[in-house]
């Protein structure tokens, strides 16, 4: 039986909040810093050959988890094994087997060309000299940058830099590729392009562990997804199974303009749908409802609004998405 690509158990990471100045230290004033738990007891098992996604809002603890897996951060508690190797005991061995893209375009030397960047990192990854040239060519072709290999990185678009960062992660020919928000800041075309490259990695038999706060990306790319919130995994399954957890066929999002109390309206609506989320702002009530049939629910909603003198301003019927799963689990939208 092969080892899982990543196995984390009871993973915790705490950071200190606040600051303690040298002056306070010299005067031996009490330490008033508090502890903030960025990752709070994560258990994770990523199987070999799958694309596994950590989905959650900004600040959920995804990147901190990735940094601990890739040896950049030391966990406060818990254990991590990457490809069967203990990260705490043999970090260097782990680093030799993973290709990571954590800070995207920022992680490149902009005054060097794409090829020069890869030459430097090939040496850092201990690629044997007689293989370096061929390996660099292969990585450049994999991210479709072979025509721009000798251009300075400072002249690249954000998408090209992201692709080059991915090429760098592939230099050690790693069985495990770690990608932190790989498409953040990219236009739709560049995002699509990068997702294609990620799918190609899976076809090559590599395991991909990625973080994203784009639900569509997680849905389209990942074999399994762990939804992370406040440093904890709140759900873990395939995208289809996660969506099946919502006992609804359709999602209705609507906005109602009203002046009075919204409680009676919501009470009436909840008899024919599950109200996943409601938020009132400047006289507008935004509601997300999960229902068996929008065809039945929408007329009921209009009747209910009319009965209290409210106006329906916007109605949208969409299939169940991972965003709805997140809302049903946390009561908040991913972007909040």
């Amino acid at each position: 039986m092969t080892d899982p690509a990543v196995e984390a158990s009871g993973l915790v990471k705490e950071f200190e909040k606040g600051r303690r100045t040298i002056w306070q230290r010299l005067l031996r004033r009490p330490d008033q810093r508090t502890t903030f738990r960025a990752v709070d007891g994560i258990d994770l098992r990523v199987e070999t050959g799958e694309i596994f996604g950590l989905l959650g809002p900004n600040g959920a603890g995804k990147t901190t988890t990735m940094k601990m897996i890739s040896t950049l951060l030391e966990p406060t508690a818990g254990t991590i094994r990457v490809l069967g190797i203990d990260v705490a005991r043999e970090p260097r061995k782990v680093r030799a087997r993973i290709g990571a893209m954590l800070s995207g375009e920022r992680s490149l030397y902009w005054k060097l060309t794409a090829r020069e960047n890869l030459e430097y990192f090939a040496a850092l990854y201990h690629v044997p000299p007689h293989e370096t040239k061929e390996r660099i060519e292969r990585c450049l072709v994999a991210v479709k940058l072979q025509d721009r290999a000798d251009d300075y990185v400072e002249r690249f678009s954000t998408g090209m830099r992201q692709r080059l960062a991915l090429a760098r992660a592939l230099l050690p020919d790693p069985p495990l590729v770690i990608l932190d928000e790989p498409t953040v800041g990219l236009d739709p075309q560049a995002s699509r392009d990068l997702r294609d490259r990620v799918r190609e990695l899976k076809r090559q038999g590599r395991t991909v562990l990625l973080t994203t706060h784009y639900m569509e990306e997680a849905d389209q790319l990942c074999d399994r997804i762990a939804i992370v919130d406040h440093g904890q995994i709140v759900a873990l399954d395939t995208p289809a199974e996660l969506k099946r957890r919502i006992r609804a066929e359709e999602v209705v999002r609507f906005e109602i303009g009203l002046t009075g109390d919204e409680a009676p309206l919501l009470g009436r609506l909840s008899s024919s749908a599950s109200i996943a989320r409601s938020e009132r702002q400047n006289g507008t009530l935004s509601v997300t409802a999960h229902c068996a049939s929008a065809r039945d629910f929408v007329p009921t909603m209009f009747d209910a609004a009319q009965s209290i003198g409210a106006t329906v301003r916007h109605v949208e019927v969409v299939p169940v998405s991972l965003e709805d799963v997140f809302i049903s689990l946390t009561g908040r939208a991913l972007r909040e």
Partner: protein, 282 residues
């Protein structure tokens, strides 16, 4: 840093220096700036010294000789200034490079690789060797063109040898600051202080006998003191290879001591940076 330094790490060390050099080459104006300072500032000090000494008054020159062992004020000052430039490059260079890597985000990318931590610590400093030799050449040409002082060929060769012998200890000293960047981020004020202190202690512009006894003792523990003294000995007093052997021996010992301390410091600060997440913060 507790893992073996392999042949692959050595190749990576050279690659780090090469990458740094490639970047340097893309800012050619920096080389022009490097010509300006090693000429202008020491020239000012030499002219000031000539004014104070009544433009070579025998009594004044004799007083200087009794303290420094030479009457060659011009070369004395220029060699000291070359040392000052080297110190500046060493103390600022590697730390600044690591700090730049930290701010731009490349530091995390380097630390994600299996390379020995010696590489990011010392690799970028390799390119500073070019600046060091460049400064020495500028100083040699400046004293010849501006003050008519011709350097002896034997002295030049030995100066290069002393520079090479002093490098390990000097770079180990510089790496204290690059190690500190990992944990503390900005170390500029500390560099300013140490550079100032070393300039004062190590006889950059005056003989160290002018210092109080305790300061002279401190100076004996600092690599720049031996480098600058040995350089002055071969260029001003006609010292030969045998004469500078003791200084080279001390520099070797200091290299071991400072190098071990630099590596230990790096290990502690890297562990701390991995706990606090400082590697990716700025």
């Amino acid at each position: 840093m507790n893992e073996a330094f392999t042949a692959a790490d050595l190749r990576a060390l050279v690659a780090a220096g090469q990458a740094q050099l490639r970047t340097l080459r893309r800012y050619p104006a920096a080389f022009l700036g490097q010509i300006f300072w090693p000429v202008l500032l020491p020239s000012v000090w030499v002219l000031m010294g000539q004014a104070y000494s009544g433009n070579g008054d025998p009594q004044a020159m004799s007083a200087f000789e009794s303290r420094s062992g030479t009457t060659g004020v011009t070369l004395f000052v220029f060699v000291g200034y070359a040392m000052y430039m080297w110190l500046s490059t060493l103390l600022w260079g590697p730390g600044t490079q690591l700090r730049r890597d930290q701010v731009t985000g490349t530091l995390e990318a380097v630390f994600l690789t299996p390379v020995s931590r010696v590489v990011p610590l010392f690799g970028p400093t390799l390119s500073n060797v070019i600046w060091t030799f460049f400064d020495l050449v500028v100083v040699g040409v400046a004293v010849w063109l501006l003050f008519g002082v011709v350097l002896p060929i034997g002295g030049i060769v030995l100066t290069l040898l002393i520079t090479l012998a002093g490098m390990p200890a000097m770079y180990a000293m510089g790496s204290f600051f690059s190690a500190s960047v990992l944990r503390f981020g900005e170390v500029g004020p500390a560099v300013q202080f140490v550079r100032g202190a070393l300039s004062l202690l190590c006889g950059i512009t005056f003989p160290i006998v002018m210092l109080p006894a305790w300061a002279q003792l401190t100076a004996q523990a600092m690599p720049p003191t031996y480098v600058v003294e040995a350089m002055r000995a071969v260029l001003l007093k006609g010292a030969g290879p045998i004469d500078i052997l003791p200084a080279i021996g001390v520099l070797a010992v200091l290299a071991v001591v400072f190098g071990a301390f630099a590596i230990a410091l790096f290990r502690v600060l890297e562990a701390s940076a991995r706990r606090t997440g400082m590697l990716g913060r700025y």
